[in-house]
């Protein structure tokens, strides 16, 4: 395996873990963690893309920006989690399925 293939394997593994977490966990904090893992997988993909196309500077700039934006999303998600725990008394997503139809 060359470097690029190893990176791609890493992307697939990280995104797989993230998607698995999103589909099968019901705890809101774990969902936020899964989202983070998913995005980190994408960031590895972006590094690989920068390396493959010789545009490493561009991809690094993009990655730094994505990390910042994604952290804000995680912070908002965790703030929601705190509020969910306060109002619903649980972090189980099953409790958050009252709006239907």
């Amino acid at each position: 395996m060359n470097d690029l293939e190893i990176l791609i394997a890493g992307v697939v593994a990280l995104m797989g873990v993230g998607l698995y977490g999103l589909l099968f966990t019901r705890n809101l904090i774990k969902v936020v963690v899964a989202l983070q893992i998913l995005v980190k997988g994408v960031l590895v993909a972006m590094t690989a893309a920068g390396e493959a196309s010789g545009q490493l500077n561009l991809s690094q700039t993009l990655i730094m920006t994505v990390i910042v934006a994604d952290t804000i999303v995680a912070v908002v998600g965790l703030a929601f989690a705190v509020q969910v725990k306060r109002l619903f008394g649980t972090l189980d997503l099953q409790a958050l399925s009252n709006l239907r139809g």
């Binding site: 999103l22 989202l35 993909a45 893309a49 999303v73 139809g101």
Partner: protein, 498 residues
């Protein structure tokens, strides 16, 4: 800073004003909420100056560009249409929110986020590379998460916020993966350069699919729409109007920009958009038919209207004729006005009947019985909005749907003609839930809840009246908006290299 042109001021002015709005609201002890409300209204009113100058410059000397290091912003007619929609509805919503939010705590945050959201959506229309596009898109997403869950002490709002955040975040991760694929394959992120470099490759096809799914979450393409009815019905009504009238359209604009750069990769983008359009119309209308809550009904109707826009845009990309795109973008503007008015009028009734009494329960259709006798102007506004959405002449919605349908028939392809007939039938179907609403408002005796309703604040009547007049005016003289929709449709096709 000297080189900044009018259109960059149009984006930066609200962004610079937003922290001031927050600080003013915080620092002024007694009248903080009122101060932040008027600060937001004034900031948005001043933003109209650079907007008008930018529109004039665009008209005189073609697309404007602004470079700051690696970042390039470019205003073309398509971006101007997005800015007009965002700023136009945004200003009215800021005005409207004064009385609506008067009893809430933390209003300075509401106005700050609203102004930021309006600014980033104008920026999104001006993005010239995928990197920029994603950053503006994410900025819009984050500000709208917080606004959807603004009633954070209400269980349903929080639930809607969580659903919206998780689905949006997955969507934006998929968009990023698509951007990585494009970067790896072409070595550039500038939209025009990608279109020049893009060859027919499977990897870029996958990137296009990721863009459709990722941006499609925000544009509420069925089946990625499940966040929409919850978010639109639980957000404060002004924000519902913004979400439905501008935010989902911004998702569509982002998708079209990204797909335009990949135009050479596949010939089927147009067909794909039309297919999603048909799905959206049917699913939106069928779900709306069985709703009992007014804002939820309007939310589902947004799905079907996204379908009409997709049909027009898909026809244009498929047939390489700008008529369909002009119709689709015309409908985007009209839908912004009509759905904005519908949510604002429904929100005004929700406010006087429920919220003003400190009650956060949803507005049901049966609450509206006889509302016209007590609130004649608001009821008239709501009726104009829903009848326009249903496509009755001579209202704005009829004109844009007509233009889309004519563009479809002009292709002389049987299956597109069948699709247009399907869309027209859907339009008739939609009257099945709009007409009973109007009937209930006008012909039934006032319900107990209407009789006990609070008086309607003037600041909430003014934006609804402005929008209602605009809808009737555009319906009677559809050429009023041609100056913006015609060049925007051509600019969109130019972005697809056609």
């Amino acid at each position: 800073m000297e080189d900044m042109t009018a259109f960059t001021w149009m984006i930066t002015l609200p962004l610079l004003a937003s922290p001031l709005i927050y600080l003013l609201g915080r620092l002024v002890k007694q009248d903080g909420p009122i101060v932040s409300h008027w600060a937001a209204v004034i900031a948005l009113a001043i933003t109209w100056v650079p907007f008008v100058i930018a529109a004039k410059e665009l008209n005189d000397s073609g697309p404007q560009t602004y470079e700051l290091g690696m970042i390039t912003l470019r205003l073309d007619d398509f971006g101007l249409l997005m800015a007009a929609l965002s700023l136009g509805l945004g200003t009215l919503v800021a005005l409207y929110s004064g009385p609506y939010m008067s009893a809430e705590s933390g209003q300075e945050k509401y106005y700050t986020l609203l102004v930021i959201m309006i600014a980033v959506m104008m920026g999104l229309g001006c993005a010239n590379d995928l990197f920029n596009l994603w950053v503006w898109f994410e900025g819009m997403a984050i500000s709208s998460f917080l606004l959807v869950a603004f009633y954070h002490e209400q269980k349903p709002s929080l639930e809607a916020g969580v659903k919206y955040l998780v689905q949006s975040a997955v969507g934006s991760a998929l968009v990023l993966l698509g951007i990585s694929l494009v970067l790896g394959q072409t070595g550039t992120l500038v939209l025009d350069d990608i279109r020049a470099a893009a060859a027919d490759s499977d990897i870029l096809l996958a990137a296009g699919a990721l863009f459709i799914i990722g941006f499609g979450v925000k544009a509420a393409l069925v089946p990625m729409h499940t966040w929409l009815p919850d978010a639109h019905s639980q957000a404060p009504s002004g924000i519902s109007a913004m979400l439905s009238g501008v935010v989902i359209e911004a998702g569509l604009v982002a998708m079209l920009r990204a797909l335009g750069s990949l135009a050479g990769v596949s010939d089927s983008w147009g067909e794909l958009l039309m297919a999603f359009g048909a799905l959206n119309m049917l699913a939106g209308n069928l779900m709306a038919l069985r709703q009992t809550q007014v804002k939820r009904l309007l939310a589902y109707s947004s799905l079907s209207h996204m379908g009409y826009m997709l049909l027009g845009l898909g026809v244009a990309i498929y047939a390489k004729e700008s008529a369909g795109a002009e119709g689709g973008l015309f409908h985007m503007l009209n839908h912004g006005m009509m759905k904005g008015l519908a949510f604002l009028a429904a929100g005004a009734l929700l406010y006087t009947l429920h919220v003003a009494a400190g009650d956060h329960s949803p507005l049901t259709i049966s609450d509206l019985s006889g509302a016209a006798q007590r609130y004649p102007l608001t009821a008239l506004g709501l009726s104009i909005a829903v009848l326009g959405l249903g496509g009755l002449p001579p209202l704005a919605g009829f004109m844009s749907k007509w233009q889309i349908f004519v563009a479809g028939f002009d292709t002389r392809e049987t299956w597109i003609e069948a699709l247009v007939v399907f869309a027209a039938l859907n339009s008739v179907l939609s009257l099945g839930y709009y007409a009973p609403l109007v009937n209930r408002v006008y012909r039934l005796e006032p319900s107990e809840i209407v009789r006990q309703g609070k008086p309607m604040p003037v600041l909430m009547t003014v934006p609804t009246a402005v929008l209602a007049l605009a809808i009737v005016a555009v319906g009677i003289w559809p050429d009023l908006l041609r100056w913006i929709t015609e060049p925007a449709g051509k600019a969109l096709l130019a972005a697809f290299g056609l």
